[in-house]
Symmetry: C2
Subunit: 158 residues, 2 copies
Amino acid sequence: MTSTSLPTTARPDTDVGVMAAHLRVNVTRLARLLRRLGDTGLSPSQISALTSIERHGPLTLGALADHERVAPPSVTKVVAKLEELGLVERKANAADRRVAHVSVTPAGADLLADVRQRKDVWLATRIGDLDDDQRHRLAAALDVIDALTAHDPTVAGR
Amino acid sequence: MTSTSLPTTARPDTDVGVMAAHLRVNVTRLARLLRRLGDTGLSPSQISALTSIERHGPLTLGALADHERVAPPSVTKVVAKLEELGLVERKANAADRRVAHVSVTPAGADLLADVRQRKDVWLATRIGDLDDDQRHRLAAALDVIDALTAHDPTVAGR
DNA sequence: TATTGTTATACTCTATAACTATA
DNA sequence: TATAGTTATAGAGTATAACAATA
């Protein structure tokens, strides 16, 4: 199921099989480099939870567990740690006192912004090192990479 | 350090800061989707070790520990597990009997090939869903993404 | 009785320290 | 003595099961 078996286009530079393999390798490598730049001292589950809390606003612990696809006891511990670090805060629900809502503190938002900026600075430098032709071709393709991940039926939630 | 502070190009679609943030978001999301497709039942360290062993040929356990940036006892356990699963095999060094070399078995190579093919099929489908213009713009940019990760001075090893 | 979240406990993964066997 | 790898032990992280508080 590679270039020989896909009867779409004869030219190798638009053969979807060849393009897929090429894109997979490049995207995986670039993502790995970016991930390495994102070190914060937080564990993967902690940084992931913090990101979810920021993106999806105040969340109950149960909702956070669903977002993170993780068991309730795990979020209890992760949130306790993030709270201890001052990155998130809990607010009791007045109407139903079983429920707690967590949201990101300014310190938590700063941490996430710092990580993103570090990655963007690195990427901007790499992009700045490209020649004009390369930079224009990259600019012209950014929305296509958008399109590849948009409306994915296999990943409805999250 | 975003679009307003980088005095490179006035047009937003080639502003390196804007491009960097856009690319970061898209690459991260696409990589996450691909990673989710790569589930094998192996732990992250196991799949990573298997990949390193395949790529860098027969490796001593010490060399594998260096590649994986992991402590020696960890590779002992990871390799023992991969060997038990029939995915790698050990070969004693005849000249120095302290040393063991690990390499990928056909079953291990098959497993890695299957994972890659699963990802490539998914990506090829997404690319096939693009219109001709999008597909050509993506094809024209693939080597640029190559260029972004090539010769990275900050990641000399590995 | 049902639901939200916590505590108790166990398992996996990885680390450091101590050890075995070769050189 | 030095090196390659293993075994012993400990610390994170996450899971299931049992529990407490509230509805």
